[in-house]
């Protein structure tokens, strides 16, 4: 019967409620293992023991193991295998084993036999070390079969491993593309959210040990009793996971709160206000980390308003938190509203003379590059240039300039590029990594900060692949020498599956992704060509904004003859801010390399590149290469998606489509514009832009996210 053939007969058989694969679980998925791995794991880690269960951090570690192991083993009652012993060297059983974990935060994972029992010991000097060890163990378990014998010792290379939340008090997030702030300020402190705990778990799994809760463009309100109570409640939730809370401080807060007449850092009333404020904060948050300050930058107030230096400002604040063991992180991201000098030079010019003038609980926070989180920038010239001052690296996890949440751009390659960069400050091998881990100059106060991409979106980061950037930041802060491929691999194994048939091509796609963005947005050392304000989409034609350095035309300097910013001696001489060998390399067109060519040089359109193409032809090729890479990612994902759950695969697929559309938009708009400026025609066989320049110039996005 034709009719019956069309009938659906549903048999209620073996149906299991599917776990929603919406990305919420991040890399802490703990899905059931294949039978062989499950029983091997159960035999080795069938139970967890500790002698320090009353410690909240040890309790958190035990809870994580309890959450993870049964879920992965599918453990039935028959399993009575080996035992995990977790704790610190202060516990008698662990002390008896003679283990010596390294430092405050390090851990050891080792198979031992004690009193005839086989134990898998996870031990730290402090509880947080044991917690990190537990997460490390679970990472290994999720990555594939464990070695027969584990003997691992790890410790972090950097002391401050911090997220910077640019979260506003109204729950918007500046440059946030993953929903609202996860901090539901409005309901705090009375109501918290289970999500705060999951946030802490995810961070602890990477070793992240601090969070600046509010935007560096700070409001004075965040320092009022009402808001301190909210921050204190968050701190209570994060504390067991070894995460300290920090606050961004608005320089002029005491004035705006009508409690002082001035914010002059040398005014005793101002210093007293901050001391009292610090005392008040520490009463509510005994382990408060300290303040992050953006001062005299982009309209924010600061000590220069009173003709005081950044050091004078930072040191006044540092004195307020010193009695409590707090620190001040002072941002070097400054450029003047009036200084006509190359913006790329200004932070160095301002801070270099202050080297040695900061208090010892101040650390200067320096962005990876001298402009502002562009798809590619040379390393910031301050690295290596302030030997007497601890410098921490600030990177941007949220993709303000790299396509927001929908473009796949794995950023570990970008950050590794900077960490590996050689400043030559003390000769060859003086990498940025050695500057920020303190080893180059012997600093104990070291740090790395990432501007978070975390929000209220169910998947936390706006997309599944953006989770990898959160992950990579945490792993690099733990160990700046980890390679992007290692990190991508372990992330993909945990987040999706250890199946190499999936992992290998996915990792390959991740590794090429950021270069693709560079190619279709800002190839060959171009920078800051994004549209105004929201930084979404191309705007290389914009040249009419009030301040010169707001304009893309300021950065690319294209004209009929050529393109690029001359930063050699014949131009702004920004190259002189680098150590001699570096400066020489950047200043010479033959050695600077294609990646930074137009960052440092103004080059004629018809000059020949290493490839044999003219500059114009090379730029066209780069744009085309970027688009082709994204088209390739779309094709590859069509094969890879079916290997994982449909829900995440579909989201990734649709975002890749958006990325493809927008890569084409970037390429077409940029070629239309630069073609019109240069007067050069597209090489034969190159696809012309789909529309004329006027079309691209007319595009507006008044409702772009992340811009307030």
């Amino acid at each position: 019967m034709a009719r019956l053939a069309a009938a659906i007969a549903m048999l209620i058989a073996f149906a299991q409620p599917a776990l929603a694969e919406d990305g919420y679980d991040l890399w802490l998925r703990y899905r059931p293992l294949p039978a062989d791995r499950a029983s091997a794991l159960a035999a080795r880690a069938g139970a967890v023991e500790t002698d320090e269960a009353s410690d909240p951090t040890i309790a958190a570690a035990v809870a994580e193991l309890q959450r993870a192991l049964p879920s992965m083993t599918g453990g039935g009652p028959e399993q009575q295998g080996g035992v995990i012993l977790i704790g610190t060297t202060r516990s008698r059983r662990i002390a008896a084993l003679g283990l010596e974990p390294a430092g405050e935060d390090g851990f050891i994972i080792r198979d031992v036999t004690a009193n005839g029992r086989r134990l898998l010991v996870i031990a730290g000097n402090r509880p947080v070390g044991a917690l990190y060890g537990a997460f490390h163990f679970l990472r290994l378990v999720q990555q594939g079969p464990l070695p027969a014998k584990l003997d691992i010792a790890e410790k972090p290379r950097v002391k401050l491993r911090l997220l910077n939340h640019w979260d506003n008090l109204d729950r918007t997030v500046e440059r946030g593309y993953s929903g609202q702030s996860i901090w539901d300020w409005w309901k705090l402190p009375t109501a918290t959210d289970p999500r705060y705990t999951d946030y802490a778990r995810a961070n602890a799994s990477l070793g992240i040990n601090g969070a600046v809760l509010n935007n560096v463009n700070a409001k004075p309100d965040s320092l009022t009793p009402q808001w301190i109570a909210k921050a204190a409640k968050v701190a209570d939730v994060l504390r067991p996971y070894g995460i300290r809370v920090y606050l961004s401080a608005r320089w002029s807060a005491p004035v705006e709160l009508k409690q002082t007449a001035t914010a002059d850092p040398l005014d005793p009333a101002v210093a007293a206000w901050w001391r009292a404020k610090a005392d008040e904060i520490y009463r509510a948050i005994p382990d408060f980390g300290g303040f992050l300050v953006k001062a005299n930058s982009e309209g924010q107030p600061g000590p220069q308003d009173y003709k005081r230096s950044h050091a004078e400002g930072a040191n006044m604040l540092a004195a307020a938190v010193r009695p409590h063991g707090g620190i001040v992180m002072w941002r070097a991201f400054v450029y003047s509203e009036v200084d006509p000098d190359d913006r790329a030079k200004q932070a160095y010019s301002e801070f270099k003379p202050l080297d040695g003038k900061f208090a010892d609980n101040v650390i200067v926070q320096v962005k990876n590059g001298a402009i502002d989180f562009q798809p590619r920038e040379p390393f910031h010239p301050l690295f290596g240039a302030m030997p007497k001052t601890p410098l921490m690296l600030e990177v941007q996890i949220t993709k303000e300039y790299l396509g927001f949440a929908t473009h796949l751009a794995y950023l570990a390659t970008m950050w590794a590029e900077v960490l590996e960069a050689d400043t030559f400050a003390r000769g060859k091998g003086s990498t940025v990594a050695k500057v920020i881990d303190g080893s180059l100059e012997g600093h104990a106060l070291t740090g790395m900060a990432g501007v978070a991409n975390i929000g209220s979106d169910r998947n936390w980061s706006g997309s599944i692949f953006d989770q990898a950037n959160w992950y990579a930041f945490g792993r690099l802060a733990w160990n700046p020498d980890l390679t992007p491929v290692e990190i991508a691999r372990e992330w993909a194994q945990q987040t999706f599956t250890p199946d190499p048939g999936f992992v290998d091509p996915t990792v390959a796609m991740m590794l090429e992704s950021r270069q693709a963005v560079v190619d279709y947005m800002t190839p060959m050392g171009l920078a800051h060509l994004m549209a105004t304000g929201h930084h979404y989409g191309p705007g290389p034609w914009v040249g009419d904004l009030a301040r010169p350095e707001w304009n893309p035309t300021y950065y690319h300097r294209a004209d009929k003859g050529g393109i690029g910013f001359d930063r050699t001696r014949s131009g702004s001489d920004a190259v002189a801010q680098y150590a001699r060998p570096v400066a020489r390399r950047f200043a010479d067109r033959r050695t600077v390399g294609d990646d930074f060519l137009l960052w440092f040089h103004h080059v004629g359109w018809d000059e020949r590149m290493a490839s044999g193409r003219t500059l114009w032809e090379e730029m066209v090729a780069r744009y085309d290469r970027g688009v082709a890479a994204v088209e390739g990612m779309n094709r590859r994902w069509a094969m890879l998606g079916p290997l994982i759950d449909k829900e995440r695969a579909d989201q990734i697929a649709s975002f890749l489509v958006i990325q493809k559309e927008e890569a084409i938009w970037w390429r077409d708009a940029s070629l239309a514009y630069f073609g019109s400026v240069s007067g050069r025609k597209l090489p034969a066989g190159v696809r012309p832009p789909a529309h004329d320049l006027q079309y691209y110039e007319a595009i507006r996005h008044p409702y772009a996210p992340g811009h307030h």
Copy 2:
């Protein structure tokens, strides 16, 4: 050994991954039933058959049954019980049964025997009827044991059952307290979200059949091709669930988009623009529902800007959508920026003279009361006053004036109060329900709209109990005669557990909750005493805002002698807008009742109430009663919470604490203020406010949500 006693030994046994009880599943939880009910269900509904699987709506119904039944029965392969046959009367097998579902959207659920097979038939005339029947069946299953034989026939009483989303294009939500807009406009139309489908499922489960996607304070952009494509994509997702998409239209859009010189509705170019725009929308959304318009109200543009009437404006738009079967919903929420007359009178004054002048595809949308969604208002005088015009009721599900997301306030009691209210328009029994279901005047175009409380929060509505308001709106739109207790009961049974030990006291708490809010915010007919702008917290002292009707003092009119707004003949005579018997009742202090006393009368502080107390004493007693009710809810929840999952119980508990704190704030601030105005002392034994009036007046909440 003492040490060992402290050790945790975790046995990996019987551990199951717990389903996250974060509220996402709403009332569609489908958790496993107890064994007896599970096997009874499997025996009766062990499989699903349809002859119309190619219909997307029937497919959605089948999918819902497939999702729900195995989950509830825990169905193993041994079950081979009865069969559900679902479809429309157009299918041969169902037609053969001679079932006659009512109307376009009605359904029948019946146990039958056909060709010797026992079938549970779910049938509609249209696929959407069958879908509604499937959800109705699942509702019954979740509520408790099914009757031995089902024979149910249902149909909706109201044609348009619509959610109004006040969602902005930047994803903020005006008066939204549950996160961002669920519409991720930025990623549409390329990427959708599985959440859109779950939204559609939840709405279809209630019979909601339309959604106005964007804020009534509309932007012209929403009518551009870019945004029409986004709305079309949402429409594609919602369509299988019987939900049509509507858009709020900004009156001046063609001018602001620079496509016409005027927005005069009688200008042929304007009419042509809207006709072309409607054609364009219908090409993208063939079943587009039509436009919702807020015109000449609170700064929005409208036809009066051109000296045309609301009817002339509405009819021009109506002509544009008529060829496509679309409608126009024209809001009667208007009050003039210059008219000094009682704001409560203005909508009636404007619209009553227009009765009979609207095109037949226009429906006028009237709020439940004449001011603005206050905790209690008398029914709007327009109901019953425009017999020649279809009127739809607009209620506010989001709790702009009732404590935002954290206060438990079950609103079915409020809405039922209005629906049951007798307008006496055609004599006794002329209830508002009969006005809006069309039965009083014989209108076929009928409707009920609820301003949605849905957002990106994981629990959709900002709190678990706010889900009940979404639910209650949908159920009342389906059948305005359902009682608040019936609705609360079925919601609680599905959302938590059918256990009467939990359900009965929970329902009791819900039923008293809205009166508690009235008591601690605006007792005895007071209204609009909230703080400025965001409407959060008390602001009865505010009297300095530019327009008189923005000020709480305008509404309460308290002075040394008394309090209340005289709306009798000696005052604004707003009572005269009601039918004679109603007007007489409201105008007479002896019959108006305590609930509306101060809405209609200015009363001396020392006048005696029915209780024997003076007005002042009675007000104090009401404030105290409100606080006591919330304290009682806190105590009750301490008993009830442990009967459900910890995650939801904890969230509810913490929100009840917030509600208690804020009820006390409202009571204390109000008594401090009215005590100072009246010069009356608190009765003996009454707790004085915790702070002085100055303290309450100084409180500011610049970061309150929902206000843009």
